[in-house]
């Protein structure tokens, strides 16, 4: 599913903030990405969701070497990846429904299908009464749930989440983790970046631990 070989990453001409990353995430894996703030978790996720090119090394996604994949073939690959951002990144002048529906709209699904799916999903995450609300009118937790709905609506093969439960109360956070587990059972590979070790312990699974831009010794397993 994901293969990194000696991958490095830098922003512009700055120093490498990720170095010598070598790991594999198998199809159907449920994986946590841990590390202290500034360790490089979000940057590693950026590489995974193809928002940034590596400065060196090889990244293979869904069996495709990203370096040799033509640029015009990247959008279909990105559509197989769902991303939940730490800062939600909702589009402010679209309603909750429109934000959640965006991936289906971009994929060219019919309007009726798009609306039905988005409404169902938003009701499921407890936002039924808020579907026509704009992000600024929603609380942080509600925005987070819209962001999660947007990430999962197209049933991606790979779901990447950056601190997905950070803004949620325990119950809603539990429901979202349950959603991720259910998606994982249906075949979606999950990578969750978090510094919440309690969450990691509760759910178990493989852990990639980052320390100062490098994977911790031991093949990337958490210490």
């Amino acid at each position: 599913m994901i293969r990194f070989e000696n991958v490095g990453m830098r922003y512009g001409t700055g120093p490498e903030i990720l170095r010598d990353l070598t790991f594999t995430v198998e199809p159907g894996a449920f994986c946590f990405l841990t590390g202290a703030s500034g360790a490089g978790k979000s940057s590693l996720l950026r590489l995974m969701y193809l928002a940034h090119a590596p400065s060196r090394g090889l990244i293979s996604l869904f069996g495709r070497d990203i370096a040799t994949t033509p640029r015009e073939e990247l959008p279909p690959l990105r559509r197989q990846i769902g991303v939940v951002f730490q800062d939600f990144r909702l589009i402010p002048n679209l309603t909750a429904l429109e934000n959640a529906a965006l991936p289906l709209r971009i994929a060219g699904k019919t309007e009726a299908d798009t609306r039905r799916h988005a409404e169902e999903l938003l009701r499921w995450v407890g936002l039924g009464p808020f579907i026509e609300h704009y992000p600024p009118a929603l609380s942080g937790g509600q925005q987070q749930r819209v962001a999660v709905a947007r990430a999962v609506i197209a049933q991606p093969k790979l779901l990447l989440a950056d601190e997905p439960t950070g803004n949620l109360d325990e119950e809603i956070g539990g429901r979202l983790m349950h959603l991720f587990v259910e998606m994982n059972k249906l075949g979606t590979s999950i990578v969750i970046a978090t510094h919440n070790m309690g969450l990691v312990r509760r759910h178990g699974g493989r852990t990639l631990h980052l320390v100062d831009g490098e994977l911790a010794p031991g093949g990337g397993d958490a210490p």
Binding site: Y49, L50, A51, H52, A53, R71, E72, L74, P75, P76, L77, R78, R79, I81, V83, R89, I91, P92, N93, L94, L97, E98, A101, L102, P103, R105, I106, A107, E111, T114, R115, A118, R150
Partner: protein, 295 residues
Amino acid sequence: MIGGGLLAPDAATRTIPWMVAVMAFVAALALALALAVEAAAARFGTGLAGNVTIEVPQGESDEATAAQVRSVLTALAAVPGVLSATAVPREVTARLVEPWLGADLAGLGQSGVGLPLPTLIDVRVDPGDPPRQGTLTALVGAVSPDIRVDDHRVWVDQLLGWVTAVRLAAGTVLLGAILGVGLTVALATHAALAIHREVIEILHIIGARDSYIARQFQRQALWMGLQGGAIGAALAAVLMVLIGTAGMIVHSGLLPALEFGTREWIAVALLPVATAVIAVFVARAVVLRALARIM
């Protein structure tokens, strides 16, 4: 429909239409004036092309002059390509020069005596098959070497030169306005790219193709171009009506009358479409170029 415009209106979307409007206004006027001048000159030129004036100078006596006029008219009647030849009454000639010479000198004063004016012969020739060049000159020269033939060539050539100059000037203004619209939209699109950087990144990550992202900006540009073009064209239309009215009031008869016909109005009406098309193409090019730089 789910999701209208993905991009929130920004300061540029409110101010750019007015900048486009100013350039559209200038372009509309330049275009309409150039077309109107060209049409008027063509009308005037066509009128002159079928017309030759023969000037028979005042002879020693009125009888001598009348005899020369008769000889010329008789000779003209036999020339192929001459449709008609009419001597202009002396009073009509006097009225033609009255604005410059005054009534007394034109011979229209109380004394009835003025400068010795030539007798004019208005010759209508077939524009499709006019007499050969030099035929008329040779013919009247045989009657008297002082008789002059004026085929208005000098005046027509000057008029054509003037029309060419107006056309060039209008073309330059039009080109400047088009460039202005393009540059304005390009700057606005660059600003919009910076303002909506986050939205672009989201769309990009979700898997939107460059063309999809560009369409969001094209939609904004289309609206700005249409709005600006419509405002500019409307203002130009008002001015054209005023110019047309003023032209009718001050029309002297010396120069072609400036009238805005169907062609000019259609050109102005199509201007919003033109500004919209330019805006859309520029916005698309700018966005695609910017997106090509990211992964």
